[in-house]
């Protein structure tokens, strides 16, 4: 098989799996699970083969032609796509296996695994897409599969509401994305990624509106301010879904898309992107501190880390000096892409690990999600405890773990490019360590505070195996130097600090981590109440209000402004459209009908008069009176 055929198999396999499940296996949950996991295994295997083979290619077919306008479907498989494909494949496989255990007794198992398959199809479509239209199609498909999976327990009102919220909020961002694609086509006459790069490098001027509109898509999908509200609510879905879609892959699709269109990024747009990312990182970290639901903490932490990636992307390129003999070349390197993708990679591993860990905890505690009702799980679920600890250490930036390297790359980039961003991100890192240690201590240390926690137990093989795999990846994921040399196009872009800068970054990152972790460790007691709420209720309530502020504002907007505007429009519609135009026209036609009906009286003599009248008119016509 050629590489292209491999790629097509990877793309279509999950679609086939989803189709089979939807058509034939709706009542056979175990068969559906088997097929879905089999497909995920094959995807992971072929993705690794494709990536490690090192062959990169591009290929496209025309799909639709309307006059001058043509749409094509195609595959662009470069190092960036290969890296993303491997992440999706590996995390996807781990989550599929985990789901086998976690969803074992679920009533709608077939629907769940079918949803996972259709998600894999959509996500791989985004990874492969060689043009923005195709990306948009799969972009909407992941939105749909996300809706399907958040909505899995649809008999629960909160889950149904959350899925709708996720879909609608995403639609807002997607609208901007679509406008951006259209503007892009209008400006350049193409939406093919490679052709776009050629045009821009050939000197085409990019209006800053285009990258900003395209960025709207990422704001929605990657849950950046001000469209972040859907992600915490999306935790209503089953935990494996949160791990796969709302932590590791789909929300990262926004970052991936930005890296794909990096050539279009003009400095003004990058500045906006940088600040949006920075604000999201800080805001979400503040919100995470006051959460008591284990998944909500992780959700806000995901938001915060996504903010990190977006900020890293927005920080943009770095000029580096290359000494070649006597001459020195200055080169611009898209370090933003490198740093963002690097953090995306490591984050995918440790965040999926922590989400699956939380799934294991929730499963062990009989679907208890409140961390203040847990405690003491260290001895009861040792494997979950140790793997989760690795995840916590990785996200905090513990030296030699995955997060350490990627976070340092971002901090170094921020230090070089923008001091305020550096300060905010460093402060966010303190908060990250703070809320993570809080979560970790309250959940796992101390003594069990409820009956469920006391009787918590480790899950079976399918629950623990993915944790171990992801823990190993979180341990080694940062050593890009030891990766197979197949992602060099991406990894050579990672900014690296040298000499004094290296020392400064190292000291900063260690300091912020230790400050955050130690203060949280000593502040929080293993008690059924939030220590912060008791010691500083003002601060606690302020953070809670900050968290709710967006929802309150949106509620106000929808209920008070949009709803009233809609009522006004409805009124106008009733009066003018429905009243005057529609009813008016139908009334005129009806009148003609009544007149015509009156002619038919059924009386012979009346018809004779009509006949006579007709003859007279005919005669007048023939004699030329008319």
């Amino acid at each position: 098989m050629t590489l292209l055929q491999h790629a097509l198999v990877v793309l279509l396999l999950p679609l086939v799996s989803a189709t089979i499940i939807a058509l034939f296996l709706r009542r056979a949950g175990n068969w559906a699970a088997g097929i879905s996991v089999l497909a995920a295994t094959a995807i992971a295997a072929i993705a690794l083969i494709l990536a490690l083979h090192g062959g990169r290619f591009e290929s496209s077919w025309e799909w639709l032609r309307l006059g001058e306008f043509s749409l094509s479907l195609g595959i662009k498989f470069d190092d960036l796509a290969a890296l993303m494909l491997v992440i999706v494949g590996i995390v996807g496989l781990c989550v599929h296996v985990f789901s086998l255990g976690y969803m074992h007794d679920d009533a709608a198992k077939a629907r769940f695994f079918g949803g996972l398959s259709i998600f894999m199809f959509s996500m791989i479509g985004i990874v492969f897409a060689d043009n923005l239209f195709m990306m948009f199609i799969f972009w909407e498909l992941v939105g749909f599969s996300s809706w399907l999976l958040i909505n899995h327990w649809h008999e629960k009102k909160s889950a149904a509401d959350a899925s709708k919220k996720a879909f609608i909020v995403n639609r807002v961002g997607d609208f901007g994305f679509l406008l951006g694609i259209i503007a892009c086509y209008y400006a350049f006459g193409t939406v093919n990624l490679t052709e776009l790069a050629t045009r821009v490098e050939g000197g085409a001027v990019v209006a800053s509106s285009i990258p900003l509109l395209l960025f709207c898509g990422a704001v929605g999908k990657s849950a950046q301010l001000p469209l972040q509200v859907w992600l915490p609510d999306a935790m209503e879905g089953p935990t494996p879904v949160s791990a796969l879609i709302h932590a590791a892959t789909m929300v990262a699709a926004g970052i991936y898309m930005l890296c794909r269109i990096n050539v279009l990024m003009v400095p003004e747009a990058l500045t906006v992107i940088m600040w949006v990312g920075t604000a999201t990182a800080l805001y979400a970290a503040l919100c995470a501190i006051v959460q008591s639901d284990i998944k909500k903490v992780l959700a806000y932490s995901t938001l915060s880390q996504l903010g990190y990636m977006v900020a890293a992307f927005g920080l943009g390129s770095l000029a580096t000096k290359h000494e070649m003999g006597a001459t020195t070349h200055e080169m611009l390197i898209a370090t933003g892409v490198g740093a963002a993708m690097f953090h995306l990679t490591t984050h995918a591993f440790f965040k999926a690990l922590m989400f699956l860990g939380s799934g294991s905890v929730i499963h062990g505690c009989h679907h208890e999600q409140d961390i203040f009702k847990m405690g003491g799980l260290r001895t009861r679920m040792p494997l979950t405890f140790w793997t989760f600890t690795i995840g916590v250490a990785a996200i905090m930036g513990m030296p030699f773990l995955a997060g350490f390297f990627s976070k340092d790359a971002i901090l170094y980039l921020a230090m070089t490019k923008s001091t305020p961003v550096f300060i905010v991100l460093a402060f966010t890192a303190i908060l990250t360590a703070f809320y993570m240690v809080r979560l970790w201590k309250i959940t796992f240390l101390g003594t069990p505070r409820t009956h469920e926690a006391d009787h918590a137990h480790e899950g079976g093989f399918t629950l623990t195996m993915p944790l171990i795999v992801l823990a190993v990846l979180s341990l080694v994921g940062g050593y890009t130097a030891y990766y197979p040399k197949v992602f060099t196009q991406v990894f050579e872009l990672i900014p690296e600090a040298h000499d004094s800068a290296h020392t400064v970054i190292l000291i900063t990152s260690l300091t912020v981590m230790i400050v955050g972790a130690v203060s949280a460790f000593f502040l929080y007691q293993c008690s059924p109440n939030d220590t912060l709420a008791q010691k500083a209720p003002g601060l606690f309530n302020a953070l809670g209000a900050l968290r709710n502020s967006f929802d309150v504002a949106y509620d106000y907007y929808v209920a008070k402004i949009q709803q009233r505007f809609a009522m006004l429009l409805n009124f106008l519609e009733q009066i003018f459209l429905a009243g005057l135009i529609v009813r008016g026209f139908s009334g005129v036609v009806g009148l003609f009908g009544m007149g015509a009906r009156a002619l038919h009286v059924g009386k012979l003599s009346v018809y004779l008069y009509w006949f006579f009248g007709g003859v007279v008119i005919l005669w007048l016509f023939v004699t030329g009176v008319f």
Binding site: H600, V601, G602, K603, L604, S605, L608, F612
Partner: protein
Amino acid sequence: MITPTLNAYLVLSGLLFSIGFFGVLIRKNTLVIFMGLELMLVASTLALVAFSRYNGTMDGNVFVFFILTVAAAEVAVGLAIIVALFRKRQTIQVDQLDGLKN
């Protein structure tokens, strides 16, 4: 003795035709309407005979023979229809024969 002029014949023919026409329009009895129709037919044959007489040709007369022949057949058919109608509906008043509407 006064010889009638062509105009006199034509006026008579026109009068007969009008009587027949208004009979058809106004009367309600199918039989009378039918008589009105026949009167219109006869009025036209009278005009044809008059033209024939004053032109000194036989064309009009030949026409009239044909018309009378056809009219005889038509009367037979028409009367048969009226009889059949009466048998079915027990009336031949046209204002009661409104099956097209109701």
